[in-house]
């Protein structure tokens, strides 16, 4: 609370604004409030109902407005901006179609608890409800996908509403807040008094520390466990509890599994970090969860993509769940100890009293599972013996990510779209720092990658930012290339171009008897397309070209760059837990021996005469290898 007041004061000083009352228009009040909340960038798109505010923006050069090419881009950019720093991102749009275009971005932010504030214009107060031109009930539409929203009905309440909107967006479990402002309210004038007293909302008080009794119960379960595992989610980095997490794991010798959004909660090079769990998580991680006798879930929400079949999920384990949102406790998984609180505080409470435990036998078991996974690995150093399933001379999406990881020194902020490339990034790009992977986990929004990367780069200009996108999702928001060019945003775009809606194709291969309906795509020449925007490009078709291309991209330090990685069309993300299956019931990539055995069987099935079987083998292997094995 006191932090916030000082932040406000600092913003006041920086903005050169006085706290003396002055008469301002509603539009100017909006700008004043944005400044006082520490906003420096607004992503948006103008139109009739928000024009007064756009006009007022001309008087506030400290507020840099980024003109997107679609309002969806604005909400994703605000989201990317927020996720890269934890600061609130701001999107602005006009009424009606402008506001509805924001919706996908708002829902994306809601699912991943990302703090954004959306300011929309609305038709004048008197016209509301009359189906006026470009009127839409945006507070109604966004009711289920915002943490809270406001329709401002008088200029007097505007400063208070703006302040509350930012407060609600960034505190507790963060989330999107929308403020809908009728045009007449933007035009009216009123004395502007920015409230300085701390915000008190009677129905809103985010919890902080845990109850002592709960902490005792958790410690008791930890003390009694033999096969404990920590499940670390997005909440760790959002609470800034990364150090506490590492300390807790080290002190008690407990391995850590990460959710997709939990990547970055702890360095993936840390010996206690197992990697990602869930549908495309490591097999050893899922086995460990299923065999554990204690789950310690921290700031994660037992999404169906990480639990698989709930009825068989970690059946033999006791469960501790720590979350700042009480409604997450016992929602999907019934737990033994539910702790509501801020993770930083709760982990400190646990750390003080947790004891070191001998978990060697448990680590040995995990190591066995891991050794089996390594056998099946296809992405290996170029000089190592290759997995026989890797087709000769073809570029794999998984290799691209692995090499990108290597040639960016594992230090970039990566922003992904949704699909196979997203899962490869999660598997092969090992993150060290919090907020260094930005991806749409909860909603799985294709089209998120490019705009969110632009937002992330604008909020962290000091960082190298890569947008890793599929050829499908890229085409959903590729108009934002123009925004990146206009704003000279130095984001590096890597298209993992497989000519398919790859992830859907994979489901069709596994579950719909290879009927690839509506998943192959005829794509434009992405290099030519980007060149039309004046963006430097490279096309990569072989593994050997990756290093050079990445180097060339990184040497460009102004404006966007684009690499078109033309990869194998029918690659598969392994392992895979089919939707609704048990978490340890995974479709695995075969081991080299299994793979060769499968090839022999297929060859034998094709050519029953024993004398030709031998000579047919390589052809059969090729036919099979290009698809299922990879």
């Amino acid at each position: 609370m006191s932090d916030e007041t000082t932040a406000t004061d600092r913003a006041n000083e920086e903005a050169g604004t006085s706290t003396d009352a002055v008469v301002l228009t509603g539009a100017e009040i909006v700008c004043e409030c944005l400044l006082r909340e520490g906003v420096d960038i607004v992503f948006g798109y103008p139109g009739g109902a928000i024009l007064p505010t756009y006009d007022a923006l001309t008087k506030y050069p400290q507020l840099h407005h980024v003109l997107t090419r679609h309002e969806q881009g604005a909400s994703h950019m605000a989201d990317g901006y927020a996720r890269a720093t934890g600061k609130v991102g701001v999107a602005m749009a006009t009424s009606g179609p402008g506001a509805t275009n924001l919706v996908t971005g708002i829902a994306t932010a809601m699912m991943d608890s990302s703090p954004i504030v959306c300011v929309t214009g609305q038709v004048p107060t008197g016209a509301i409800g009359s189906d006026a031109f470009q009127e839409t009930d945006v507070t109604g539409i966004t009711l289920p996908i915002t943490k809270h929203n406001y329709l401002v009905t008088s200029i007097e309440e505007l400063p208070e509403v703006m302040r509350e909107a930012f407060h609600i967006a960034r505190t507790g479990r963060p989330g999107p807040v929308l403020v809908d402002i009728p045009k007449d309210v933007q035009i009216q004038e009123a004395e502007f008094v920015y409230p300085t007293e701390p915000i008190e909302l009677p129905g809103y008080s985010p919890p902080r520390a845990a109850r002592a009794r709960q902490v005792d119960a958790a410690l008791e379960l930890i003390r009694k466990s033999k096969r404990p595992i920590i499940l670390a989610g997005h909440g760790i980095s959002m609470a800034g509890a990364n150090r506490e997490l590492a300390q807790l794991a080290e002190k008690a010798q407990i391995p850590i599994a990460l959710t997709l959004l939990g990547k970055g909660a702890i360095s993936e090079h840390h010996p206690l970090c197992l990697g990602m769990m869930g549908m495309h998580g490591g097999a050893e991680v899922n086995h460990a969860i299923q065999q554990a006798d204690l789950l310690i879930a921290l700031g994660m929400r037992f999404d169906d993509r990480v639990t698989g079949n709930l009825a068989t999920y970690a059946r033999d384990s006791r469960k501790i769940h720590v979350d700042i949102d009480p409604s997450e406790i016992n929602k999907n998984v019934t737990v033994d100890v539910g702790i509501v609180g801020d993770l930083g505080e709760v982990l400190s409470q646990l750390l003080d009293r947790v004891e070191r435990r001998p978990n060697e036998a448990w680590f040995d078991r995990i190591a066995e599972w891991r050794a089996d996974s390594e056998l099946r690995e296809i992405v290996r150093p170029a000089d190592a013996p290759q997995h026989p399933a890797v087709p000769e001379g073809k570029l794999l999406g998984a290799q691209v990510i692995r090499d990108l990881f290597e040639f960016t020194d594992g230090g970039a902020i990566t922003v992904t779209d949704v699909g196979q490339h997203q899962m490869w990034e999660a598997q092969y790009y090992h993150h060290e720092r919090p907020h260094s992977l930005i991806t749409s986990g909860g909603l799985g929004t294709m089209g998120f990658g490019l705009p969110a990367a632009i937002g992330a780069k604008m909020s962290r200009p000091d960082q190298e930012v890569w947008a890793i996108v599929g050829d499908g999702g890229f085409q959903m928001t590729m108009m934002e290339l123009a925004t990146a060019v206009q704003e000279e945003v130095n984001v590096h775009i890597a298209i993992i171009n497989n000519g398919f809606l790859g992830m859907v194709r994979q489901w069709q291969e596994f579950f719909y008897e290879e009927r690839y309906n509506q998943t192959p795509m005829v794509n434009p020449d992405f290099c030519k397309l980007a060149e039309a925007y004046g963006i430097p490009t490279v096309r990569v078709t072989e593994r050997g070209q990756i290093e050079e291309a990445v180097k060339a991209s990184r040497s460009q330090t102004a404006g966007p760059t684009l690499i078109d990685f033309v990869v194998e069309k029918e690659e598969i993300v392994f392992p895979m837990v089919p939707a609704g299956a048990d978490l340890d019931d995974m479709i695995r990539r075969p081991t080299p021996e299994e793979f060769e055995q499968q090839c022999r069987e297929r060859a034998a099935a094709k050519a029953p005469e024993p004398e030709t079987a031998e000579s047919e083998e390589p052809a059969a292997a090729a036919a099979l290898g290009s698809r299922f094995g990879v």
Binding site: T139, G140, L143, P144, K147, H148, L151, T153, S154, E156, E157, P159, E160, I168, E200, L201, P202, G203, Y204, D325, P326, S327, I329, N330, K331
Partner: protein, 181 residues
């Protein structure tokens, strides 16, 4: 499965009812009845929500209600002594031959007759749910032309009071404060 009665104090702002109603739909809560009305304080309304469910489900609803910024306080009245009332208006078919019988029934239930016409009576009856059910069952043979029920309202007995002392109305918001409906 049991009947759960929740009482919620909500800020009297436009849209609150929509938020609560949306919550029921969005998270598939099956609600028996919902009644909303003013309280002793202009800035607050009180909702009484009745649901037939197990207690885990009721607990889930309480937590989700608390997530709404406009919801100030929620109490599970089921778990404490409380008084519960519901009112119904029932229009019963009553000709000159059987009118007396209906009136007698009303007397037994302490129901009031508030309108009389040649073919029917309108009866006002207040009480706990069971009483209302019994009454309607008994008058059903005469013919119920139409009826309406308010849904339950409830208050804790004696010292069991929904906390509102933390609530300070915000002056700049007075303009926006309206009936939640």
């Amino acid at each position: 499965m049991a009947k759960h009665i929740l009482a919620a104090l909500v800020e009297n702002r436009p849209g609150v009812l929509a938020r609560v109603a949306n919550l029921f739909r969005r998270r598939s809560f099956n609600i028996d009845s919902l009644s909303v009305g003013r309280t002793q304080r202009d800035e607050m309304s009180r909702m009484t929500i009745v649901m037939e469910s197990d207690s885990a489900e009721a607990d889930r609803l309480v937590k989700n209600l608390y997530k709404l910024v406009d919801v100030v306080h929620v109490d599970h009245l089921h778990s404490q002594p409380s008084v519960v009332r519901e009112m119904a208006l029932v229009k019963v078919k009553a000709s000159s031959e059987n009118r007396r019988e209906v009136i007698q029934l009303c007397d037994i239930f302490r129901a009031r007759i508030i309108d009389v016409s040649a073919e029917s009576l309108v009866v006002e009856i207040t009480g706990e749910e069971e009483k209302l059910e019994n009454f309607t069952e008994l008058v059903r043979p005469f013919g119920i032309v139409e009826m309406v029920r308010t849904g339950m309202i409830a208050l804790g007995r004696g010292g069991h009071t929904l906390k509102d002392e933390g609530f300070k109305p915000n002056r700049s918001r007075a303009a926006a404060r309206r009936n939640v409906l």
